[in-house]
Structures are given as C-alpha cells and as structure tokens.
C-alpha cells in the first residue's frame, strides 16, 4: 500500500520537485538553529561555490582545478570594497563577483585551448599565478597577514551577531543557486551538456564550442565570486588560504562527494566537508595513539575513498537507487548524470 502510494507520488515529478525545493529552503532557513551560525554560513558559501564548479565539471565536462582564483580574488575584492568605501556588504560582494568574472575571461580564453586533464593543469597553474600576485601585492591584500577587519555594513543594521548575518547573507547565496539552476535548465545549459557528451558533433552542428565554454566558465567564476565574497564578509577577513590550490581542491572534493553533474548534490558535499573539517579542527579525531588534527589528512582520505568507491557521490547514488526502484532507465543525456566516466569517451583504453 505504502509502496503504491510512493510510486504514485514518485510518478508526479512536478510535485516531487516542489516538495524537494521546499524542503531545501526549509533546511537552509533552519540551519543556524542547530548548527553554529558561522559554520552554517560557511556551508552556504561553500555550497554555492561547489554548485558553481559543478556547472563546469558536471555539465560541461571541464575540471577546473583553479577555482580558488575566483573565490579568493572575490574574497579580497569584497574586503577592499567594504573597508575602503564602507559600502553595504551586498554591494561589496556583487563587486567581488564582477571582478572574479573579469579575471575569468583571460584565464578561460587561454584554458579552453586545452581539454581534459590539460585543462585541469592549466587552470591550476593560472590560479597559482593569482596566488603569487596576491602574495606580492601587499598594499592591497596584506600579504601573509591577510586582509583584516572587513565590516558587515547594511544600512546601519547591527549584523555582528553571526546568527543575524546568516539571514542577511542567505539571500545572496540563494540568488546564486537560482542562477545556476536557470543556467542548467535553459537551452544554453542543454548545449553545454551536448558539448560535454560530444564536442565534435556539437561543433559540426554549428555551436561555437569554445565560446560556450568561455561563457560558462565566466558564469561559474561569477558565482564562485559571490560565494567567496560572502565567505570573506562572514569571516571578516580574507587570507592567502582563499587563493591557494588546496581551496581549489577542496571545492572539487565537495562536488565529487555530492555527485558530479547533480547540481544540488554539491550542496550536500559542501555541508559534509565543512562539518567534518569543523569537527576535526575543534576536537580532532583520536584513534588509539593517533591524534589526527590535520584537516588535510581527513580531506585526503575522503577524496581517495570517494574517487575509488563512491564516484556517483551522495546525490548520484540516491538518484540511482530511486531510479532503479521506479524502473526508470538512467537518463543519459540529462543534467543528472551520475558519473562523468560513463559519458566521456574513454581516452584510449589503457591496459
């Protein structure tokens, strides 16, 4: 009986989607009630960052390993705008996103000249260049001390309590997520998936593949910029850590853990990683004589395990199980692709 009801319910995808959307919103609104509010804000910022990365990795098939450049440059920009002009923080974050997009244009134009693993290496290298520049440009970024004392201005409202700032910052992230969702479900998004599946055919159908790649790269950078700016304002400081390659790696873990190409899965990946890191940083993990305090060790272990055993990610696995239960065939050409490897032509099957 319940199984039948479940089937009926599942057969109404629109209702299903609405329920999911409301549940997601509800969780986002309730988050600071049961999680330490600054950590809740971290989750939201990283979630938007990971979703932005998934636009590239999941929906266009491009692994950017240099997204720290956009997150980090936005963090600095938001800080500089907020400190120097005293502008309301949403304005600072918007400015940060614009700067991230401007920075993304030359990087994208160069990076799309390479594909696959080359693309990852090139984006990683350019992000490292941004890191070196941030390190040297002390007058603006504060070098190794970072940029401190970023104010949370909003028309005289007192947002010093992280609990209230969460609700002030949440709309920005939600707008970012909405943009990502619109992009994926637009004709533009369908072309991106076509490019992921078969670049040569997309090109022969008349789509300017490289221009599409540059466009989605810049959009993704802009959303990463929103997230990075929000993160910097929330913490009140921006540091070199934000531009470093470990940050690029961290957001990739989140997306892979959540499920590549599932869009919302990235938010779950972000929440899990932020929570685990927070736990390790505050209490550490004690296994016998081992006292693990390094977040890198845990993140690395998660990375290895996910890549080896759990490539669909959390969302991808759930979607896969649901689909199997409903006997619905796996969508091949859709945004809910569970696994990049199933879609990208295997590069010369090596032994």
């Amino acid at each position: 009986m319940t199984a039948l009801a479940f089937r009926k319910l599942a057969a109404m995808p629109r209702l299903w989607r609405l329920v999911g959307l409301l549940a997601g919103l509800l969780i986002a609104l309730a988050l600071p009630w049961f999680i330490y509010p600054p950590v809740a804000m971290d989750i939201i910022a990283w979630a938007l960052f990971a979703v932005a990365l998934d636009l590239l990795l999941g929906f266009t098939g491009l692994l950017s390993f240099g997204h720290a450049a956009f997150w980090g440059s936005a963090a600095y920009t938001a800080g500089v705008i907020a400190i120097k002009t005293g502008a309301p923080f949403p304005v600072a974050i918007l400015g940060a996103a614009v700067v991230a997009m401007v920075l993304a244009v030359p990087i994208a134009l160069l990076a799309v000249r390479s594909t696959g693993i080359y693309f990852a290496m090139v984006t990683l290298a350019f992000a490292q260049m941004v890191y070196y520049v941030a390190n040297q440009w002390r007058s603006l970024t504060g070098g190794e001390n970072g940029l401190q004392g970023i104010p949370k201005n909003l028309f005289g409202l007192d947002l010093s309590d992280p609990f209230y700032f969460y609700y002030a910052g949440l709309p920005i992230a939600l707008i970012g997520l909405l943009i990502a969702w619109r992009v994926v479900h637009s004709p533009f998004g369908r072309v991106l998936v076509a490019i992921r599946e078969n670049p040569a055919r997309s090109r022969s159908l008349g789509y300017p593949v490289d221009r599409y790649k540059v466009m989605i790269f810049v959009i993704s950078a802009g959303l990463s910029g929103l997230a990075g700016g929000l993160y910097a304002v929330s913490h009140g400081f921006a540091s070199l850590q934000e531009v470093y390659w470990t940050t690029s790696g961290k957001v990739v873990i989140m997306t892979v853990l959540g499920g590549i190409g599932t869009l919302w899965g990235s938010t779950i990946g972000a929440a899990l990683i932020v929570e685990v890191e927070d736990y390790v940083a505050t209490s550490g993990i004690h296994i016998g004589p081992l006292n693990i305090t390094g977040p890198g060790l845990i993140a690395g272990l998660i990375f290895v395990v996910v890549v080896l055993l759990f490539r669909r990610g959390v969302w991808g696995t759930v979607a896969h199980l649901l689909r199997r239960r409903r006997d619905v065939p796996e969508p091949h050409l859709s945004g809910t692709a569970p696994d990049v490897a199933e879609h990208e032509p295997a590069v010369a099957q090596k032994p």
Partner: protein
C-alpha cells in the same frame, strides 16, 4: 658578464629539479595516461627519506641517493598496483583526483610527525667547498646536482631511445593495442614505468635535501610549477619536459635579476604564450593534448 653567467648557472641548477620532476611526470603520463599530482609529495618524501636515513640509521647522502629512490620506486609500483590501476580505464581526471588526495594525506602525515618547520640536512662529504669554474667560483654541490641531473636525463633518453625495453615502452605509449597484438605483454611494463617515474621524484628529493629546506610542504608549490613546465614542454614528450625544465629554471633566475616583480609569475606568462601559440606544448604532438 660573469655575474650574468652565474645567474644563468643558478637557473640551470634550479631547472635541473624541474627537469627531473617533469621527466618523471612525462614518463608516467606517456605510459598510463595519468597525471600524477602526488609527484611533488614524492619529491618531499625523497628529501625526508634522506633526512630519516641520516638521523635514524646514520646513513649519509651517498647511500641515501641509492636507497631512497629504490624504496620510493617500490612504493610507487605498489601504489600503481593497489590504487592507480583501478582507475586507469576511467577518465584520467579520476587518477588526478586520487593522487591529489594522496598528496594531502602524505603532507599531513609528515607534518604531524615532524612539524612544519624545515629540517637541516648537511652537505654531503666531499662536495662541501666551492669549485672554480673559470669565470666564477661556484658551490661544488650545485655543480654536482646539475651534472648529475643532466646525466640522469641523458640516461633516461638513452634507455628509451636505444634499448629494447625503451622500444617496448615507446610502442606501448603510442599504440597500446597494436603493441599487444604484436605479442608484447604491455601490462607487465606499466608498474615498473610508474615506479621509475616515482623513483625520479624521490631522487630529486634526495638531491634537494642538502640545498633546500626539508619540510612537509616543500613539494606543494613546486609541483604546480612543474605542471606549468610540462604544459610548456608538452606532456608526454620526454625531451620537451627536460628542455622546458632547464629553460624555465634559467628564465626564472634571469627574471629574478632583471625584473624582480615578475620572477614568480614569469613561468605562467610563458605558459600563456605557449598555449596561444602551440596548445600542445613546444615539443608535444597535437594528439597528446586531447
């Protein structure tokens, strides 16, 4: 003039580390199609290997130069068998992510054991002083590093170009199916090649120990520079990666003198130019860029 030469020489010495690391990356990429992110971590392990041998077993530089690459090479072969092999048939990005995770683990393990600060490592016996190179005096150890890495690079080239093993490896790199059809057991060579690549990283780590600070993060930034070097030289091109390694080393050293502000970023600017001009790298073939 002699000052310029001295800077160029400095650059060549730095470049020899890039060259050795890029060589190992290229060998592995050529055979397996895997970009090994953990290469910098293995370089760091090489330096720590030398440090640990000295402090725990009182074995100096020369024994370390033999033992550490052998041990790390064996470790690399094990890594290939246990982890990397499982993902080789999938998109190469997965192995990139796997080795990235390994990098984080290795760095943190060493940091938990030895802390973040640099460990001292003495100059090896017999290479302490400086050598008169005609126009200027130069630390003998640096001269040794340069000569040794040129020899290793030449050796790798001879091995690949002139021996039967090299022929098999090159054939397996270019046309694995065809090579297998000719009756050669390609799979047999994969683990050893991966091991050799890792051993090269360990070797450069041992070489680095006496002249650079031995610390858990010593390979962290280096590996990204080496990625840029490999993109410039052409991934999978043995000659390209070695040449680009020395070239970038020189460029950085001279850049440091004439345009100090650009010293750290010059590599990436060169990479941008190469991407515009020859996306497959200076010495790479177009097909390797896929």
């Amino acid at each position: 003039m002699s000052e310029l030469l001295q800077h160029a020489f400095n650059g060549l010495v730095n470049g020899s580390f890039y060259a050795l690391l890029a060589l190992g990356l290229s060998v592995i990429f050529g055979m397996l199609g895997v970009v090994n992110f953990a290469h910098g971590a293995f370089y760091m392990l090489g330096a720590f290997g030398a440090f640990i041998l000295l402090s725990e077993a009182n074995l100096g530089f020369w024994p370390a130069l033999v033992i550490v690459p052998l041990v790390l090479g064996g470790l690399g072969m094990g890594l290939e068998r246990v982890l990397v092999r499982r993902l080789v048939a999938l998109d190469p990005l997965y192995n990139f992510l796997l080795t990235f995770g390994l990098t984080l683990i290795l760095q943190d393990l060493l940091r938990m054991k030895y802390g973040s600060q640099a460990q001292p490592y003495p100059q090896p016996a017999g290479l302490g002083g400086s050598l008169n190179l005609g126009l200027f005096d130069y630390p003998a150890y640096q001269v040794f590093v340069l000569g040794f890495s040129v020899l290793v690079s030449l050796g790798a080239w001879l091995l690949l170009a002139r021996t039967r093993i090299g022929m098999i490896v090159r054939a397996a790199t270019e046309r694995p199916e065809l090579t297998r059809a000719l009756g050669i057991n390609v799979g047999r060579w994969i683990s050893p090649v991966f091991g050799v690549g890792i051993a090269l990283a360990g070797l450069s780590g041992v070489l680095a120990a006496p002249m650079r600070a031995v610390s858990p993060l010593m390979g962290a930034d280096l590996i990204i520079l080496v990625f840029a070097v490999v993109v410039i030289g052409g991934l999978g091109s043995i000659f390209g990666s070695v040449a680009a390694g020395f070239l970038i080393g020189m460029l950085q050293a001279l850049g440091n003198v004439y345009v100090p502000g650009l010293a750290t970023t010059s590599v990436f600017i060169v990479m941008a130019i190469v991407l515009l001009w020859r996306p497959a790298g200076l010495f790479g073939r177009e097909e390797t860029a896929v």
